[in-house]
Subunit: 298 residues, 3 copies
Amino acid sequence: MNTLAISHSRLRCLKMSVVHLKQIRLFSTTNLNCGELTKTQEENGIRRIILNNPKSRNALCMTMMNELLDHISLDLNNISLRCIVISAEGPVFSSGHNLKELILENKDYKSKEIFSLCSVLMKRIMEVPVPVIAAVQGPAVAAGCQLVAQCDIAVCTENSIFSTPGSHFGIFCSTPGIPLVRTVPRKIAAHMLMTGEPIKAEEALRVGLVSNVVPSDQLESEVMKICNAIKSQSKSVVALGKRFFYEQLELDIHTAYRLGENVMDENVQLIDGQEGIRSFAEKRKPVWKHNFDKLFKA
Amino acid sequence: MNTLAISHSRLRCLKMSVVHLKQIRLFSTTNLNCGELTKTQEENGIRRIILNNPKSRNALCMTMMNELLDHISLDLNNISLRCIVISAEGPVFSSGHNLKELILENKDYKSKEIFSLCSVLMKRIMEVPVPVIAAVQGPAVAAGCQLVAQCDIAVCTENSIFSTPGSHFGIFCSTPGIPLVRTVPRKIAAHMLMTGEPIKAEEALRVGLVSNVVPSDQLESEVMKICNAIKSQSKSVVALGKRFFYEQLELDIHTAYRLGENVMDENVQLIDGQEGIRSFAEKRKPVWKHNFDKLFKA
Amino acid sequence: MNTLAISHSRLRCLKMSVVHLKQIRLFSTTNLNCGELTKTQEENGIRRIILNNPKSRNALCMTMMNELLDHISLDLNNISLRCIVISAEGPVFSSGHNLKELILENKDYKSKEIFSLCSVLMKRIMEVPVPVIAAVQGPAVAAGCQLVAQCDIAVCTENSIFSTPGSHFGIFCSTPGIPLVRTVPRKIAAHMLMTGEPIKAEEALRVGLVSNVVPSDQLESEVMKICNAIKSQSKSVVALGKRFFYEQLELDIHTAYRLGENVMDENVQLIDGQEGIRSFAEKRKPVWKHNFDKLFKA
């Protein structure tokens, strides 16, 4: 184990960003367990963030987005945290931005801040070192659809629908289109954005917006299946993998392979990398350290 | 309302390109209503451009491409124009380029001009400020398949098929592959291009080349459904949205979000943006201006 | 025909790389017909490379990867070679890297070399001038799944499954994720990589990882259908098309169209380009030269 070596590796960046994210908490005023519009609970490695404002159809108002950002950003380097699940109370997953906050003459008009905050929230989902799973139980509309598209993994119930109808209300879903067109085929995204027409759960599965559709009473077990698969892995290995995933997919394939070779080699040198390989050879369960310490050849 | 402010915004570019496109008409000799190989009609906001040379299987010869380009480019800043539908007469949608124009010894050989014009035509579909919909009623082959892949939205009948078999005739479908691989999964595009094998309507739906497949007698009603959804929106909001859609999908996601925040904020400031939000709050139909004028806070 | 002109065209690069690849053979010690872990046979234009180490589940150990690389790289400018098929003996297509070679304390530990060689192998599949087809008859795991994702075309049997479960053994499938996320929708790739859960053949078809799924006893006929479609074309036209396919898909669409115009125009000037067009006009079978010689207007 040689901490100096780590400080020169790209893994350091990962650690830094976790530290950075932790510092953000100092500026947060939201309590983890009793947000105004969200509920959060963390148990057995799973942080559940629940949109809990059914009467406004879980609109992504400033308060809601701030709470989401806080809950997603908290305590990220705590080893016990292994994945984040975003779900919702009520019949609607989320109806998107609160249009009232976008009326110019209203005293709480703050268009620039809203879209800036929304982008920070969406990018944070990619940046956090644990997988973020959307568990969708009903309509996900406009920025609500964006939230689903931006999560690492999404599953939904059979009655869920997805739409980006903003332009019918004068505001084209330009930013929801950003993760949408990176998730579903271009023509499907264009159809959704230009017509505002919704797609049903089965179509969302066909086009890759969700990776599974289940009856409502099986959503929880489907989510648990995903979480358990993630929890049986080393947190640091998953963090390293998620980080490179979002890095490499923006690159040309030759650069991706060039960087990927190093990522793989560094992964192999991790104590958790070696433990994983050995446990497989020895036909036993691995015992993870969940850190970025390396093992060096004697 | 402050026209000076608009002149400094990115919206100006959009207006400029519309003006530019209008000027192109001055150089066109094609009459809007009686092209040699196409029919065009415009009614209730929908411009219909119909490939009308069934005996040559609607080949995209120079004349056909020039007529298409003219009809697509005309009068784009006319508020009444809201979407463009490209369809075809006869059993074939389009068989692609006219191979006779590519025989070196023929007097009308003009390979360079053909592929240059074809690229201009294809890019124009992305550039025009209204959605362009392909309504496919039969085989779309080679550059005919390219035309479908390049449209913003495409729907087809159950008997439609799509193929890029150029290399069987010595000319690999290299340029048809450009919009194709950006529309369908990479391996599907490779299979189509390298084998020349067609895909059927149902497979085109599965891979995202079209967003709906209908029986032949329902193609018109399906197209009308899409057009009506577009027509109920503000032309300027759709134009702004379409433009950013094609801009952002070429960018890394962080740059896309950075630019997207501004696009959303500018959209909100439009008179039509504010009208849309208010009409929603007031539970009434919006009354659109269809322009890029902004509303400023008093 | 003007060889000087060719030497200044982009086609020259293609020839060069073929020459370069041929030279590599000089450094190879593997015999074409009796590799240690693979079998290779070439007949009627089809080179078949068969992973033949069922007792190690066709692990991609150094020896296996070296043999694959050699067999893929050999004799590429031989006109009779028209496509390469990669298949496997035994119940498993490939289980991925040999984990024993990644145990730090083992004498044959060579992590850096393994991932470097693997990248060279994967990129070679894109670089060779003939289509490479994966014919999958069972589980394709980790780097085995990467191999399938990286091939130009892939088909599989109904009992095939695909997974990237590396992180369960401490090594996140970071490099398998490179071709995977370029082949299937982003969320499907993320789900596979972050959970390690497999997808079945039918899902692989839905997400575009394979272009057809057949019963086991029809895999050979499905492969032959693809190979025959490729074999009826000019080798040089396919080579030109494959090369531009992988070039253009990395570019913004405007650059792609700009380069594509030239590629089409050069293709038309090839003797095989003109032969293809003429044979179509004359309703006869084309007679290909399979080279890059051009025909110039008298």
